[in-house]
Symmetry: C2
Subunit: 116 residues, 2 copies
């Protein structure tokens, strides 16, 4: 069920515009509005899940699908070979600002450690 207060559910529904780079029956991927790298894409499940902390055992394939989709987008975008970073922020310390599970896919530059 979409959450009517969730901006990512509204992006999925097309009620808020976004630049989609990929979509399938399970997920939608679009450019981050505040990119932190030459490529900065968010991959979100169509199913509303608040956060990684709220994902359940039965969401295992869905969350796995998000990661494999990130890898596929990196290959299709041409930066997989050079490399990329995938990040999931959970709750306040993690820096999560939108409570609809999302994967940050960042590429096109070198990333340092620690990761924030």
């Amino acid at each position: 069920m979409p959450d009517e207060n969730c901006i990512f559910c509204k992006i999925i529904a097309g009620e808020i515009p976004s630049t989609r780079v990929f979509e399938d029956e399970n997920c939608v991927a679009f450019n981050d509005l505040h990119p932190q790298a030459p490529a900065h894409i968010l991959i979100i499940p169509r199913l509303h899940i608040d956060s990684l902390d709220k994902a359940r055992f039965e969401d295992k394939e869905t969350v796995g699908h998000l990661l494999l989709t990130a890898a596929e987008i990196a290959r299709e975008s041409g930066f997989a070979e050079n490399g990329y970073r995938v990040v999931i922020n959970t709750n306040s310390d993690g820096g999560q600002t939108v409570f609809h599970l999302h994967i940050h896919l960042l590429g096109g530059r070198e990333f340092v450690f620690p990761p924030g």
Copy 2:
């Protein structure tokens, strides 16, 4: 098949010591030797996969399991509610140094953006 040159395969086999915090039939989790946060745990599949880029469609459940295991470890370690960051580095730009797929679970402090 374990890769005989892979230090993470050796950690799984117990040939290289590590401080394990969790293990099951699919994965092993242990403390990072160079922690970047009060909690810094690596979660790796028992199956050798070079990187997220080399994961295949049939690895979907395995990679999903790694993420759900990270979330479970965060809850059991007591920092899930405050929050945490999950990071996967792929290839050179991403900062990948060991070529056995691994998830960094970082908690116990606030993480800034960009993530490296």
